[in-house]
């Protein structure tokens, strides 16, 4: 029973265009959502987060949108750059400060930025 789903294993986007990565969740107790970027053989690095009281959070080229009624969030990267090529993980938690729940991750989406 996967509580966080990233249904696209891979996504190919042309450099300079918008990349949209999607994530769905099933657990209505999740209140805090995060996106991580991961290069091969490295630990994930935090990108951006959003709490359930918001529907949008923006940080530079990265924007996360949350549709709580649909239990759906998306990460927009504009404009896409070659260095954005990586695996992106969506994660969710019921506790923004950490706590015993940890994070529940999706399986990841491999974003490939083409020149």
């Amino acid at each position: 029973d996967q509580q966080v789903k990233q249904n696209s294993p891979s996504l190919s986007v042309q450099e300079g265009r918008i990349s949209i990565l999607n994530c769905d969740y099933t657990n209505s107790m999740f209140d805090y959502f995060l996106w991580y970027k991961k290069y091969p053989a490295e630990g994930p690095t935090f990108l951006i987060s959003i709490s359930s009281i918001k529907d949008k959070n923006e940080d530079g080229r990265f924007t996360v949108f949350l549709n709580k009624s649909a239990k759906h969030l998306s990460l927009h990267i504009v404009p896409s750059q070659p260095g954005d090529s990586a695996v992106y993980f969506c994660a969710a938690s019921g506790d923004p400060g950490g706590g015993a729940d940890g994070l529940t991750f999706g399986k990841g989406t491999h974003l490939i930025i083409q020149p």
């Binding site: 966080v4 990233q6 805090y32 995060l34 991580y36 053989a41 490295e42 630990g43 994930p44 690095t45 935090f46 987060s49 993980f89 994660a91 923004p96 400060g97 950490g98 706590g99 015993a100 940890g102 994070l103 529940t104 991750f105 999706g106 399986k107 990841g108």
Partner: protein
Amino acid sequence: SQTIHQWPATLVQPVGSPLSLECTVEGTSNPNLYWYRQAAGRGLQLLFYSVGIGQISSEVPQNLSASRPQDRQFILSSKKLLLSDSGFYLCAWSGWEGMYGYTFGSGTRLTVV
């Protein structure tokens, strides 16, 4: 600033051999500590979490164990490795330091042969 160290980076171990992966955190006190595993074709799965010294909780039954002998030290162990223990292991910490989010270590690639 807070930093997290995890070692070794890569490890090749025979089936049946023991395992010990170590993780230490600097620059914070009383962090929540976690061990995650990324198996091939899968997302990151939470294995263990710890909210304090000697306090370990396991998310899934497995061939692994964890210990927290000191506030900022978290160890992942196994007495006898299985082939299915192969994967990428990540240590992480979280806590209220005026910011949200989890910080991950650089990971250990474990191959059991």
